[in-house]
């Protein structure tokens, strides 16, 4: 008796599910061509929040398309991009010559689309009451390769600061944030000291700085926006006064040199696929509102339109070569 009941019940369930499936299929087939397939995205942890938010919205729009977004750092993502393992790379810096070269060797052409601005924030622990703004020279003194094993205490930077060990936290070598920071501060991309906590995962850096009174670190402004209560933002002085990174100062360029555009890279082979095309168009349509939501500085509308045009002509071009 029991088993019969169970059987009846499960068959009832199955038929219910079957009906449900039927219904949604019907709904979908009302749209003329249902997009399906898989879009693989990887790259910068700085761009990740924007891309992930857009991917989520896109899932509602085209539920049959699977969009996966990884976080290997800009350099890590490009390594996969040049091997054609991913469709789109999130990048917090422009492609390097060496990477462009590899694309060429593998017969991949690509397009760079800027999607938003980001500021690189310099951060300390909220308990830090001695540091409110820092000059570019001081940052350089802390982070340059020659500082390794030498600049170990706060008072070596300014004598009035405490005679305590300085604990440094920063982006790892595979991240575009690292390349950008070293270029802007030290003057040479990839040149820095090596004795600091280096992680591609910004959450590790947030955790480290927020729990260490003598910490100093840097990462993308958006991660500060998410963790405002745990961190203290430091103003950066480039010679014309101390400037805190905000929506305004990053967008108008006065927070120099630590503000930068961030990009997505799309390869030609992937852009030929309908679902990728739709996704990139969806991306450009929505990036302005979403980037503001997740803590980035949106591009002005004219700039976005330029990127759209750029993408369309890229599509035309890649179709032509086919």
């Amino acid at each position: 008796m029991q088993t019969i009941k169970a059987l009846l019940f499960s068959s009832l369930l199955i038929s219910l599910f079957a009906c449900g499936g039927q219904k949604s299929n019907d709904e979908n087939s009302n749209n003329e061509n249902v997009l399906s397939g898989q879009i693989q995205i990887d790259g910068s942890s700085t761009v990740y929040p924007i891309t992930e938010a857009i991917a989520e919205e896109f899932r509602a729009e085209a539920p049959e398309v699977k969009v996966t977004v990884g976080v290997s750092g800009t350099g890590g993502g490009f390594k996969k991009f040049v091997r054609n393992e991913i469709d789109i790379n999130d990048a917090s810096r422009s492609i390097k010559d060496s990477e462009a070269e590899q694309c060429k060797e593998n017969g991949i052409s690509y397009i760079e689309l800027s999607v938003a601005y980001d500021g690189l924030a310099v951060l300390v622990n909220p308990q830090n009451n001695w540091l409110n703004d820092i000059t570019i020279e001081e940052l350089k003194k802390i982070w340059e390769p020659a500082a390794q094993g030498v600049i170990m205490k706060w008072n070596q930077i300014r004598p009035e600061w405490p005679a305590e060990e300085i604990h440094l936290f920063g982006a790892g070598t595979a991240s575009g944030t690292y390349d950008y920071f070293t270029e802007a501060i030290v003057g040479e991309s990839g040149a820095s000291r090596g004795d600091y906590t280096a992680s591609e995962d910004d959450n590790v850096l947030v955790q480290g700085i927020s729990s260490d009174k003598f910490a100093l670190g840097f990462f993308g402004l958006a991660y500060y926006e998410e963790n405002k209560d745990k961190l203290k933002l430091v103003g950066v002085n480039n010679g014309s006064g101390s400037v805190l990174p905000t929506m305004e100062t990053v967008a108008n360029g006065s927070y120099a040199p630590l503000s930068r555009p961030i990009f997505i890279y799309v390869s030609n082979k992937s852009a030929e696929r309908e679902e990728v095309k739709a996704f990139v168009n969806f991306y450009l349509d929505n990036v302005a509102s979403i980037s503001e939501e997740v803590g980035y500085i949106p591009l002005p509308e004219t700039e976005i339109n330029k990127q759209k045009e750029k993408f369309n002509s890229f599509l035309a071009g890649s179709n032509y070569t086919k």
């Binding site: 750092g73 000291r193 906590t197």
Partner: protein, 292 residues
Amino acid sequence: MNKTREYIIERLLFLCAAITVFTTISIILVLLVEAVGFFQEVSIIDFLTDKEWTPLFADKHFGILPLVCGTLLTTFIAISVALPIGLTIAIYLSEYAPKSFRKIFKPLLEVLAAVPTVVYGFFALLVVSPFLQKFFPEMSGFNSLSAGIVMGIMIIPFISSLSEDALYAVPKSLREAAYGMGSTRFQTAFKVTVPAASSGIVVSIILALSRAIGETMIVAIAAGQQPRLTLDPTVPIETITAYIVQVSMGDVPHGSLEYKTIFAAGITLFVFTFILNNISFYIKKKYQEKYD
């Protein structure tokens, strides 16, 4: 018919045993081959004497010392926590506790070893570190002290359970003789039973040590990721295992020198645990007291 069946079963059993040996040998081979590739590019003297470890940066240094130092520091802290507590528990359970209590308590204690290490890691980072910071406000959130303490808690069952087994195995006649001479319980425990079981206790400590040296998740989460040659337990450090995790999670191209560093680090780790295991084997064989 029966004979062939028997034969097949025997072969199958042999195969199962061979698989474990084969796996060990292939792991050692892979480690060796990749490490040889590494040492062709980096001199072993630099590897053992350089005081900096920055293989991922432009100015590369390949001194394993900071990583070894971090590993030994966390292990030392762990064993300083686990040894007194574990041994006390073992002596209490075997010499003092009523049998029924021992029956319930011992399995409960072993649950400690069954907690996933990732849980221990977050426990260290989010509970122990903030708690310690109440006493040492200068302390970093990532530090070897909290990672070491939590690792110590994790390895308590290794010491307590194995030591307790050793103590429990000491023949009753020895204890009775001690009581007969007028010893108190305390005297019997520390002057007779513990020395008689000492080889088993030492082996349990060594096993706990090699578990602590190889422990990965706790230190990767809570001890930091900054290779540093220091004995200060309040600052971020990096252990050999945490480095291997950091590099294998990132995107280091296969075959590059950076990639080979994980095998060099791995073989260093292997040498440590290998030596410890051999010491424990030797002690077990040489010093085990026989009472027949």
